[in-house]
Symmetry: C2
Subunit: 107 residues, 2 copies
Amino acid sequence: MVSVAEDRIFKALADPSRRAIFESLTRGEAAVKDLTARFDISQPAVSQHLTTLKDAGLVKDRREGRCAYYRVEPRGIKPLIDWIAHHRVFWAEHLGRLEQLLEKMDP
Amino acid sequence: MVSVAEDRIFKALADPSRRAIFESLTRGEAAVKDLTARFDISQPAVSQHLTTLKDAGLVKDRREGRCAYYRVEPRGIKPLIDWIAHHRVFWAEHLGRLEQLLEKMDP
DNA sequence: CCTAAATATAAGTGAACACTTATTGATTAT
DNA sequence: ATAATCAATAAGTGTTCACTTATATTTAGG
């Protein structure tokens, strides 16, 4: 009855530091060292958060020499969208807003 | 830089029991005793979860005599939708899917 | 009234979690 | 070779968290 993917995603995004890292990655691929420089937590902490995000399917990594580059995996957010969509009651109330959002988007 | 509402919502939905309770409420208002009967956790646990959901703005309560009825607050999901919408990269990839979802919805 | 029902709150407990420092492994540069 | 850089893992720690049982509070019913 409980979706594992769903659970991992919600848990992954529940932490503010992890959300900040994820949001940072939406602005472009970044190496661990870049993220470590950006945030006020240790390098291992960053790596641990990235592993959690990766296990949740929200990011992917790519190794190049000594550096590990992480980027957002856009399809990873699917379970979250599906979860919201499943509860039509919300959408019904927010349909207007949603359409508005869609219009504002680039093609 | 960190939205409190956002944080409360993600944290509230990170727990499977709490998500199950919330999902149950999307099918209609329910009293604490009903939810306690539905799930395999103690009544205090249910009350605590409901308080968390309430603090996150996801549900509202209504007292009638001895019973406390809880219902979903549809506008409560707004910060979550806003968060997703804010990261257009995701939406761009899933625009097709989204439009599909919107079409399937009742007017 | 007095009891039962419904809920919330208090207090305690074990597990999960978000960090830390130390270390290891691997790659690049001198 | 050797040293430096980058990242992951190990291990430890304090806090948060999701439960539990026990208790208090309010309301309904015999």
